[in-house]
Homo-oligomer: 379 residues x 2
């Protein structure tokens, strides 16, 4: 009886091979895998050392494999093996990098990814959530312009991430006499930035719901940070490299809060693909690196900031009451123009909250199961 | 009038220098920095190009600096400059890596980091939270063994992270007839693992509160994953390298959920220091990398699993009703031994919830401000 360390077979006309240990770790029998959940029963250390394949048998739809030393038998559906071929370029399963996104400049967008709240509830949800994953944002219209509704939008696809700002927060001009703790609560322009870079983990989704528009100005701008990062890499690889390697500290302090986090402005996957951006000069803390690194960082940082501020990168939206933006806070920077406070007008009022991409992607995946057409609420 | 690109001075007897752009970006004047919050008013692109220092003046406690081309004047306290010297080895501000932790084996621990809930509330909170950051866990005793109390513990230092398991979840043996969706809800042993590796961002803190102990067995084990990673690096650098570079997909599926995330088992900071571990064979999905990488991965993965399973690495605790563990889910793996279900006994019952390290660290920082002695509630 020969013992093999791999299974070789021809599937769909091409030769494929699987290591014995990989097969055994993915054995689908009910002793190895909990039916329904895909959870494995065993740990990797439960697999015997010196594992080998002693027997392989073609059983039509399945391939039967017997392992030494313990004579465990597994049946692998051929279709499953074909789907999970190792060298087939299936990728690493990480859908958070630039490779799984459609990068954009405003001029490229074929219309806004937008939908009314009634359409969203009546079957459009999957399309809207897919836009958040692919383009980094979606605009929902006609969400009733009532306080607290933004939480309902978040709950339609995931879970609110509560922070020191509460489960939801109001963005409006605060009484200037009370010295606003955050520039968001003034009428000043705010350049493109990501929220909460001083948090780790930072919220991966932000929602902004317009209850009242500004009299003049107060437009909301969105910038695709992944598209900008790709441009920086193409035009100034050295600056790009500096920004991926330099940890930058951000902080936020008020009476009850003292948040700090230190991460690079551009975060990469292990294979070097862009996976996240953090950008917010307001909350950046003094950089404490060796002198030469500080010089290199500031050159790269200014280059990056200038690139992000290019007018052609910013999609400008004038949010009307009822508009609710959902965007990927690890990718899309947001900005706003200054606005005027007309005498006696109640002024601009947004409500926002944070949530996370994993819950959104889960909801989308469940909607995509056969039998679901996005009409049912998934929770 | 000469223009300098840096400021050189002697502080505390040693020469230090700061780039002009760094100084200007950190100017503490009220036009540049919002008093109280440390938020910057300007963006990096608001700083003029061709910035230089035209005049420096010693003003006793402060150094006055005048910048070209816009003649902006800044006053930097000498103490602040000393504190923020660039080459002084102040580190990168990232306190999440192994460098800012006390790595441990159970034998090294000088007693358990433990405290009663009344002591925690009466001034011990800072010490307890500091243990979570430094050692990765703390045990609170005498938290009333009542349902829902674990949320109160979480709210004492941060915010509950709601997930598909709810704002809190029960860990007890479910009726076997209903086919438990998760192995946690059986009486089986569970080897050291981190929770929710199929989530991104994964919860960074977990709490487990014991309401009823098991009749026999059901001990909780904790393993310092950062200490284990350091050992792996020291003894098998190749396996360590493989685990930091190979993205591994995790998944969790039930009727309403389809979560997936793909990240390496050992995550590093940009400077190559251990910053997080994910480990859970139950929810690992088939690895789809080129054949040679799969072989290398399984060699490394088994080595890592064996190292984590070394009995000398596992701190075993028998949780009594009222005990509440708080631990760092990016660092400390948890496990449990199998337990018996005695006839007619209601069985082991824990309640858990998730939270995040950033909120915990913020609460600790606020408690550390002068005037706070940990006695007040910080929220």
């Amino acid at each position: 009886m020969s013992a093999e360390l791999e299974l070789e077979l021809v599937i769909g006309g091409r030769p494929v091979r699987f290591p014995a240990v990989w097969l055994r770790d993915n054995c689908p029998c009910p002793d190895c895998l909990v039916p329904g959940t895909g959870q494995k029963v065993n740990d990797i250390t439960d697999i015997p050392n010196g594992l080998a394949i002693t027997h392989t048998e073609d059983a039509g739809e399945s391939v039967l494999v017997t392992f030494a030393p313990d004579r465990h038998r597994s049946a692998f559906p051929r279709s499953w093996l074909e789907e999970h071929a190792l060298d087939g370029g299936g990728g690493d399963g990480d859908d958070r990098t630039e490779d799984d996104k459609d990068l954009w400049l405003p001029a490229d967008l074929d219309g806004l990814p937008a939908m009314s709240w009634p359409s969203y509830l009546a079957g459009g949800k999957a399309e809207a959530l897919e836009a958040v994953l692919r383009l980094g944002f979606v605009l929902l219209r006609d969400v009733p312009a009532e306080p607290g509704r933004v939480r309902e939008v978040a709950a339609s696809f995931g879970y609110v991430r509560e922070t020191n700002y509460g489960r939801l927060f109001d963005v409006r001009v605060e009484d200037q006499g009370s010295a606003p703790g955050n520039l968001a609560f003034t009428s000043r322009a705010i350049r493109p930035h990501t929220d909460n870079p001083y948090r780790d983990p930072a919220p991966t989704i932000q929602l902004l719901h317009c209850l009242r528009a500004a009299g003049q100005g107060g437009e909301t701008g969105l910038v695709d940070g992944f598209a900008a990062a790709a441009e920086l890499r193409a035009t100034d690889a050295e600056s790009f490299g500096t920004l991926t390697k330099t940890p930058v500290s951000f902080g936020y302090v008020d009476k009850e809060t003292d948040l700090r986090a230190s991460l690079p402005l551009i975060q990469l996957s292990p294979s070097g693909r862009v996976r996240g951006v953090r950008f917010n000069n307001r909350s950046m803390r003094p950089l404490r690196r060796p002198y030469a690194e500080v010089i290199a960082f500031y050159t790269a940082y200014r280059r990056w900031a200038e690139l992000l501020a290019q007018p052609g990168r910013q999609l400008n939206l004038r949010l009307a009451p009822g508009d609710c933006l959902i965007f990927d806070n690890t990718r899309v920077l947001h900005a706003r123009t200054a606005f005027s406070m007309s005498e006696g007008s109640p002024g601009r009022h947004l409500q926002g909250c944070y949530a996370d991409l994993d819950g959104l992607a889960s909801t989308l995946a469940v909607l995509g199961r056969s039998g679901n057409h996005g009409r049912e609420e998934s929770r």
